[in-house]
């Protein structure tokens, strides 16, 4: 459309604007202004969030899946920092300020060292597919804003990977449909055997952990050279980390033999790895609980959790810098050498990295009661992105485990009355300390606390929560209905379109036949 034509169209549109009342137009302009202001505020707030620019770059270069991992990471960092601030503010600072004689500052003793926490991992390709719709991939696959040649290359390989995934799934479903009965039986037998192998691997791993726990607590540690003693003390965390690194790779190799589709393979490996990590941690904790306490149990517990955290951190650090980075360099420099082919290409599989995060977070939560500075070490990497339901569910699992461990610990044990045992010095339990603290508060504060813990407060609070939840659920249902209605409209417009095409086709055919017959008898029956 040329410039003149566009101008004429705009004039015509201007003249067609209907007359609405003064108040109506004022209200409309107000709502438009309000929406704009809200959008600006929202934009400003999200600009204040740290790493927002980095996140956008990550999304542009690596896709939404990788971005989601980093958003989850940022969320965990916030969580841990909040935790740290709370503990520092309410425990460490008052202790430092008031420094009562009979309460030593919180410490964990032992021969643990302080570590730096700068870390980085290398990310590699493999994005996450949104939908199976191939036409979307072809026509909306290219991002027209890309200007950097490296990013263009990456995007091309992204699109190619997506399409290859689609093709692979097509060929898999074709293969699956063509399986004969004999092949199916053999496949099921193979899967059964492989599952047994997985179970035996898990059992072996747990036994190894048990063995190392016994070993580390058995002997007289101080009779050895300090280095050997250190290694023996760190034996359980080393075993756990070793097992957690090696076994998921083996699981992945095993699941490649089971002939599932790609997504099912990844999920199966993921489930097995989740079970491995959380169960190994759980078994280790239960060994700690069930074994007889040698010295003050609380301090020991905090110490063990701290060791776990530190070692996990170290292991990830070494894995990133001493293993993955050289592997990447090797792949880039000499892609065809034997060593490169053996070590294989690196894959940033999002769910596994999320699992690592969740594992670290769980350990941190378990230990934080006894070792308040643990969350500081939990904040490992410094980039981030958005969260998804799966990640939070995994985190919830970890939280439940930590809560169980803590609850078990609080209720079960006898408290040794040593001087520096436990977070409260005199080996008292949390409940006694809280009771003492509340009684030391001034009168009105005591009544306030007593009111807050009574039924008169709890029941209305519960009711209010139920009401809020119900409103959310009903809003979600209403939105779902609106979505269904709109989908219906869309598909019915397809039907309308088809009907229109059909009638146009019929009309054309009729016109043509009439035209032919009209040519035979020339008269005025030209129009339909």
């Amino acid at each position: 459309m040329c410039l003149q034509g566009k101008r004429a169209a705009r004039e015509r549109r201007k003249m067609q604007i209907s007359n609405i009342g003064f108040w109506e137009s004022w209200r409309r302009s107000q709502s438009i202004h309000r929406k704009r202001v809200w959008a600006q505020v929202g934009g400003a707030l999200s600009g204040l969030l740290p790493w927002q620019n980095t996140l956008r770059k990550i999304e542009g270069r690596f896709g939404v899946g990788v971005k989601a991992y980093f958003v989850f990471l940022r969320y965990l960092i916030y969580l841990n920092l909040l935790h740290c601030f709370l503990i520092c503010g309410f425990i460490l600072v008052p202790t430092g300020v008031y420094s009562r004689a009979f309460r030593e500052p919180l410490r964990f003793g032992g021969n643990d060292s302080v570590l730096d926490f700068v870390l980085g991992t290398h990310t590699w390709t493999i994005g996450k597919r949104h939908s199976m719709n191939v036409s979307f991939k072809i026509f909306c696959g290219w991002d027209f804003t890309i200007q950097d040649p490296a990013a263009a290359q990456l995007k091309k390989s992204f699109v190619r990977n997506d399409l290859k995934l689609f093709l692979e799934e097509q060929s898999f479903s074709l293969r699956k449909a063509q399986r004969t009965l004999g092949q199916k039986l053999r496949l099921y037998l193979l899967r059964f055997i492989l599952n047994l192998v997985v179970l035996s691997l898990l059992g072996g791993a747990f036994y190894l952990i048990y063995f190392s726990t016994i070993r580390s607590r058995g002997e007289n540690i101080s009779s050895f050279h300090w280095l050997v003693g250190l290694v023996l003390q760190y034996l359980p965390p080393m075993t756990i980390s070793f097992v957690n690194i090696i076994l998921p790779h083996m699981f992945r190799k095993i699941s490649s033999f089971e002939d599932y589709s790609l997504t099912v393979q990844v999920n199966a490996t993921l489930v097995r790895s989740i079970f491995l990590k959380l169960a190994s941690l759980g078994i280790y904790l239960s060994f700690l609980f069930l074994s007889p306490p040698k010295t003050c149990r609380e301090n020991q517990f905090g110490r063990e959790m701290y060791k776990l955290c530190v070692f996990n951190f170290l292991a990830t650090f070494c894995n990133a810098f001493l293993f993955n980075y050289p592997r990447k360099l090797l792949q880039e420099a000499r892609p065809t050498s034997l060593l490169a082919r053996l070590s294989g290409k690196q894959h940033f599989l999002i769910p596994f990295n999320v699992l690592d995060l969740v594992y670290g977070q769980t350990v941190s939560w378990v230990g934080v009661h006894y070792c308040p500075l643990l969350p500081l070490i939990g904040t490992r990497m410094f980039r981030a992105s958005s969260s998804s339901v799966l990640f939070h569910l995994m985190l919830l699992l970890g939280l439940l485990m930590a809560a169980t461990a803590l609850g078990f610990n609080l209720y079960q044990q006898e408290h040794s009355k040593e001087f520096s045992c436990g977070p409260f010095g005199g080996g008292e339990s949390v409940f006694e300390v809280v009771r003492v603290c509340v009684r030391s508060l001034p009168g009105p504060a005591q009544t306030a606390v007593r009111y807050l813990t009574s039924e008169a407060f709890a029941l209305p609070l519960l009711l209010a929560e139920v009401i809020v939840l119900t409103s959310y659920v009903s809003r979600q249902r209403a939105n779902q209905r609106a979505i269904d209605r709109l989908k219906d409209m869309l598909s019915s417009s397809d039907k309308r379109f088809l009907v229109k095409q059909h009638t146009t086709l019929l009309r054309d055919r009729r016109n043509r036949s009439r035209g032919r017959s009209a040519a035979a008898q020339p008269d005025a029956h030209q129009r339909l």
């Binding site: 101008r7 191939v134 979307f136 072809i138 909306c140 991002d143 190619r160 399409l163």
Partner: protein
């Protein structure tokens, strides 16, 4: 922006503002970009509507278009002669359609033109295959390309003629969630 500029008359700037999605400042900036592509060809004074067209080769080397696999088709579909020689009007028109403010329907019209390699008003299988090859830098085998294109046509074709008319294309695009965010060039 005062009356200091002498590149366009006020009526011309108003006309550009009405018919594109750019402001006066952006139009002047676009003229600067157009000029720097070929300083000896493009006059600084556009008040008497000079008839100046820049060839395809100069325009596809702009940084905004350089990495785009469809750059040739983009410039060709906005040129009047179909060979990619853009006057300043067409240049502005191109970036206006590809800007953030252009509506979905307008973008869909031009997207259809861009992907229609043989310019027959239909997206047939050859068009799709060419699109796919440009997109993946020919890393898929010919059989894979065929399979993907067949599936794409199957998904979008509503009138069963195994090629996509504009109505089919528009119907499919209206359901694509990220068409607007990907089909956009920032200048």
């Amino acid at each position: 922006m005062g009356n200091k500029q002498t590149i366009f008359t006020d009526e011309q700037l108003d006309a550009y503002q009405d018919c594109t999605f750019f402001t006066r400042k952006e139009i002047l900036r676009l003229h600067g970009r157009y000029h720097e592509l070929a300083p000896h060809l493009v006059p600084m004074d556009y008040t008497n509507d000079p008839d100046c067209k820049l060839p395809l080769a100069l325009i596809v080397n702009m940084p905004e278009l350089k990495e785009n696999p469809f750059r040739n088709r983009i410039v060709e579909s906005f040129s009047e002669d179909g060979m990619g020689n853009l006057s300043f009007n067409e240049f502005v028109d191109m970036f206006s359609v590809l800007s953030e403010m252009a509506p979905r329907e307008l973008k869909a019209i031009y997207a259809f033109k861009i992907y229609d390699f043989n310019v027959d008003n239909y997206l047939c299988k050859e068009d799709l295959e060419k699109t796919l090859n440009r997109l993946t830098k020919e890393e898929l085998t010919p059989e894979e390309v065929q399979l993907v294109c067949e599936k794409a046509i199957e998904e979008a074709d509503l009138d069963g003629d195994s090629k996509l008319s504009y109505a089919d294309f528009e119907n499919m695009i209206s359901r694509a969630p990220d068409f607007l965010s990907t089909f956009h060039i920032r200048i």
